[in-house]
């Protein structure tokens, strides 16, 4: 049971390039999330998904796209990288149970630098 895995761990992009951050979970969780963490800040929700085929915007969705074709995978796409997207990106998953605490399981993160 690997939990939540993310690839790559590190990436440097030039302005205007595109890339996909991969996220996979093997816990059969229905909810998945993408966050970004800027220095000295908390985690900001980019997009989330409540199940395969269903996604919705979080607090900071501009410049990103997501898809959820399977329960396990939730890739995050950056189409035109900008320096403002330099951040650490975390993928997370959770299993929604009524009256649960909504705890999320996080991947190790992807450190992205755009120059």
């Amino acid at each position: 049971n690997a939990g939540v895995t993310q690839t790559p761990k590190f990436r440097i992009l030039k302005i205007g390039q595109s890339m996909t951050l991969q996220c996979t979970q093997d816990m059969n969780h229905n909810y998945m999330y993408w966050y970004r963490q800027d220095p000295g800040m908390g985690l900001k929700l980019i997009y989330y998904s409540v199940g395969a085929g269903i996604t919705d915007k979080g607090e900071v969705p501009n410049g990103y796209n997501v898809s959820r074709s399977t329960t396990e995978d939730f890739p995050l796409r950056l189409e035109l990288a900008a320096p403002s997207q330099t951040s650490v990106y975390f993928c997370a998953s959770s299993y929604l149970v009524l009256r649960s605490s909504y705890e999320q399981y996080f991947g190790p993160g992807t450190r992205l630098t755009v120059t």
Partner: protein
Amino acid sequence: DQQVKQNSPSLSVQEGRISILNCDYTNSMFDYFLWYKKYPAEGPTFLISISSIKDKNEDGRFTVFLNKSAKHLSLHIVPSQPGDSAVYFCAASVNTGGFKTIFGAGTRLFVKA
């Protein structure tokens, strides 16, 4: 608009003493509050949570207190250990049909041996 605030960026405590981390929130619709712990180069890990209908939840050395009237919660770690040195994030969740979790900026805890 910061809905979840952790006003202390860092805290230093002697090993064996109590660590108290504080968190304030503004949205009265939050129904669960959580604490996550994060080591460098790792993702956050869930530590403890509390429902909005309770005022205390305890798990071993960790206790979370919720004061709804003051919109304030705190995490107590007793006794503190050097391995507790990490960044602690306060988070609050609300079910809006999907649900969303808002995180505070974190407090870095140093436990000195």
